[in-house]
């Protein structure tokens, strides 16, 4: 009674995965840097601990983030995760209350019906059986959705789902088999003993009417145990390893550990915490607008996990950050990709099965990289100024933006110096995006030197790409402001007087300004001050990438145009008079694919500056004059 041979696969699998996860996580903990270790320890005994528990409940079990995006998909994930969790918890209670003794081994709870076939005939046990059947039905409904999603992702609101490796597929099949085999095993046993509730009891009775259920039942118990066992054994080398690892990741993140700028055990944990759910694929503009389906974050992480040569995948990304925004696990996908770009090429090799289980992961050797050198740059002696205006390379290609900025600053009476009027030096961000941080540092030093020497209090830039790097990688005394922030400041101070333009406009958040630097409010405040701002379909943290991104080194111009056209279509759904952006690169990219007028926020504001009275009079005279000519 106490031991059945069929429980062996389950037991072996369970103890294997428990021990394996504990050892793996211990090694990850050991490899953390000293400060991160301290953070984690402090987090474990403080407030972050409760936050983590809450997050585990809300995200790992209920999948709240996915629910918000798409309720059906959320239900699917929740029914499998939360349903299974409840089944285990209540199964354990059931075995504890109704079994022969307390504190049973796990197999007694999982295979409870086999050990207590007559259970659930009357009273409380009967109600409890209904509850257990309900839970099983809950999971099975989710499973049905999962199967539908795998074959027709569109029905589930996904544009595309992940393509899996063979280990993932076997693990997936074994996971799918677990619940139907449990249903059948319980039904056969219930049918033989006339017990069970609405699901297992009725199905059992139906089966018993034409099948020798008592003889068949053990086979399904074997199948149930085997599918569990196979699933557990494949866990460490499949995507399902995210189940234990995600819990650890949540503790690490809430303790304040961040990705940093090189591979560490935190990036390793993030790599294994990815569940390949495919939500990043579905969100990626390169996938649905440009038809590139093999470079998304799920595949990037998968390549990283299997130590493949993913240089092409790593480079082919717009770095817009939309996937990071929707990732239900909260993996820092942008920084991870940048780390990998810095690493350079890996030699491609297929991991052997033994290596996949290996606790110590050796990364393949990294090859020497080409280097740039900017020793030709001559140090300048700038004039002193309180406000320094740095247009940026891209803004030099949109002279209208520079003219507008000059007009705005002159009108507001700002005394400024134009730092790169005669062509400056690149801010360094494009190099960083290409993974060349050391070279970028040379440019950063050059620019920093000029900014420090000028003694500026405020550094205004018109390019979000520059803005991000000025804020994050420069050590400056000056306050760095994007021009939308600066204009907002001028309006609030009252030094910039503006009229109202009777126009309906839509605003496009540039990636580097919005998601990259968290500036959402200021541009909107400025625009609403001078025109009527319409809301668009995808905005703020889910705004689209224009497709021109410097983050992608390899994307062809044709594909870029496809992304741009798709983005403009979405942004102009409400047919605004003008589409406003705050980035010269977005402007340049959009102009090529649409007839809608695209303006920078500075141009919009400059147009709202009332003309001096004398000029208005001059214009009226000219009009009258031209009218007189046409009349005669």
């Amino acid at each position: 009674m106490n031991f059945e041979l069929f429980t062996l696969p389950f037991n072996l699998g369970l103890y294997f995965i428990l021990i394996y996860s504990v050892v793996r996580i211990t090694i990850w903990f050991r490899d953390l840097s000293r400060s991160d270790k301290l953070r984690l320890q402090r987090g474990f005994f403080g407030r972050p601990f409760m936050d983590s528990l809450r997050e585990i409940f809300m995200e790992s079990l209920l999948h709240r983030k996915i629910f918000r995006k798409n309720p059906v998909l959320g239900y699917m994930h929740m029914s499998l995760a939360f349903g299974w969790f409840l089944l285990i918890v209540f199964g354990t209670f059931e075995a504890d209350f109704f079994g022969e003794k307390h504190l049973n081994p796990p197999s007694h709870a999982i295979f409870f019906r086999w050990f207590n076939p007559e259970h659930g005939a009357e009273g409380f046990a009967r109600i409890y059986s209904i509850w257990m059947d309900l839970l099983l039905a809950f999971i099975l409904s989710g499973l049905l959705l999962a199967i539908i999603k795998r074959f027709t992702p569109r029905l589930m609101g996904m544009k595309k789902t992940t393509k899996h490796t063979w280990t993932d597929r076997i693990a997936l099949i074994s996971l799918w088999l677990i619940f139907p085999s449990r249903l059948l095993a319980e039904s056969f046993t219930c049918g033989a003993h006339g017990s069970g509730s609405f699901l297992t009891g009725n199905l059992g009775n139906a089966l018993a009417s034409f099948l020798p259920v008592a003889d068949i039942a053990p086979w399904f118990w074997w199948l149930y145990s085997l599918s569990l066992g196979v699933f557990f054994f494949l866990l460490p080398i499949s995507r399902y390893f995210h189940i234990p690892v995600e819990l650890f990741l949540i503790f690490m993140r809430n303790s304040g550990i961040t990705t940093g700028d090189r591979h560490s055990s935190y990036t390793e944990v993030q790599t294994h915490a990815c569940s390949s759910c495919g939500i990043c694929i579905s969100t990626c503009q390169m996938s649905y607008a440009a038809g590139i389906h093999d470079i998304q974050s799920a595949y990037f992480i998968k390549g990283l996990r299997n130590d493949r040569d993913i240089a092409a995948i790593t480079a082919n990304c717009l770095m817009c950050g939309r996937c990071e925004e929707v990732c239900p696990v909260g993996i820092e996908l942008g920084p991870m990709r940048l780390i990998e770009r810095r690493q350079g090429e890996r030699s491609d090799r297929t991991l052997k099965l033994k290596e996949k289980y290996s606790l110590m992961r050796r990364r393949s050797t990294i090859e020497k990289r080409p280097t740039q050198s900017y020793s030709y740059l001559v140090r300048e002696e700038p004039e002193k100024a309180d406000v320094l205006f740095f247009a940026g390379c891209m803004t030099h290609l949109t002279p209208a933006v520079i003219a507008a900025m000059k007009k705005i600053m002159d009108s507001a009476g700002v005394i400024y110096r134009f730092m790169d009027e005669n062509g400056g030096v690149c801010c360094g961000r494009p190099l960083m995006l290409a993974g060349r941080d050391r070279e970028a540092r040379e440019l950063i030093n050059h620019n920093s030197d000029i900014i420090w020497k000028s003694g500026a209090q405020i550094l205004v830039t018109s390019c979000p790409i520059c803005y991000k790097v000025f804020r994050e990688s420069y050590y400056l005394e000056a306050r760095v402001m994007h021009h939308s922030e600066f204009i907002n400041l001028l309006i609030e101070e009252g030094s910039l007087r503006l009229g109202y333009l009777h126009k309906k406009v839509a605003y496009h958040d540039p990636c580097e300004l919005g998601r990259g630097s968290g500036i959402y409010e200021e541009p909107r405040a400025v625009i609403s001050y001078v025109a009527e701002l319409q809301s668009s379909a995808q905005e703020a943290n889910m705004s689209l990438c224009c497709g021109g991104s410097l983050g992608n080194l390899t994307l062809s111009s044709g594909k870029r145009a496809m992304i741009a056209a798709d983005a403009v279509r979405t942004l102009t759904l409400c047919s605004p008079d003008e589409l406003i952006t705050a980035c010269p690169l977005c402007k340049k990219t959009f102009v090529q694919v649409t007839k809608t007028k695209i303006s920078d926020i500075a141009e919009l504001v400059a147009a709202a500056i009332p003309a001096p009275k004398r000029e208005i009079a001059k214009r009226r005279t000219a009009k009258r004059y031209s009218g007189a000519i046409s009349n005669s």
Partner: protein, 119 residues
């Protein structure tokens, strides 16, 4: 100046227009074209060079660099390729849609690979 047949007839060949097939190495061109097929689209208009940020500080010239790659002149290319800042202005002005940033990146990689005899 090399003695060629044309010299005898009073014609000279401009040094910069001379391709020396003994010293040229086409492997870099092949690698760059493989990595960035749009490299072939370049018709040497020079728009990239006119707008270049690095070009304002040094003699860096993307159009000339492309010629070096095409002709397989490795020695001048080695220095030239290091000067680019990858800022991407050339990408936006290119009328042919050449992915110029990747051309520079691929050329730099090709040089490193050449040194390791991997091309």
């Amino acid at each position: 100046m090399r003695v060629t047949q044309s010299n005898k007839f009073g014609f000279t060949i401009n040094r910069s227009r001379l391709i020396d097939y003994d010293s040229s190495d086409r492997k870099v061109r092949e690698y760059v074209t493989l990595r960035e097929p749009s490299f072939r689209l370049c018709f040497a208009c020079g728009g990239c060079t006119a707008t270049c940020t690095a070009g304002q500080h040094t003699s860096f010239n993307l159009r000339r660099m492309n010629t070096f790659i095409r002709r397989g002149e490795i020695e001048p290319l080695r220095e030239e390729v290091k000067r680019c800042m990858l800022c991407g202005k050339c990408l936006l002005v290119c009328p042919r849609g050449v992915n110029t940033r990747n051309v520079v990146a691929a050329a730099a990689e090709a040089i490193v690979k050449l040194e390791r005899n991997e091309l």
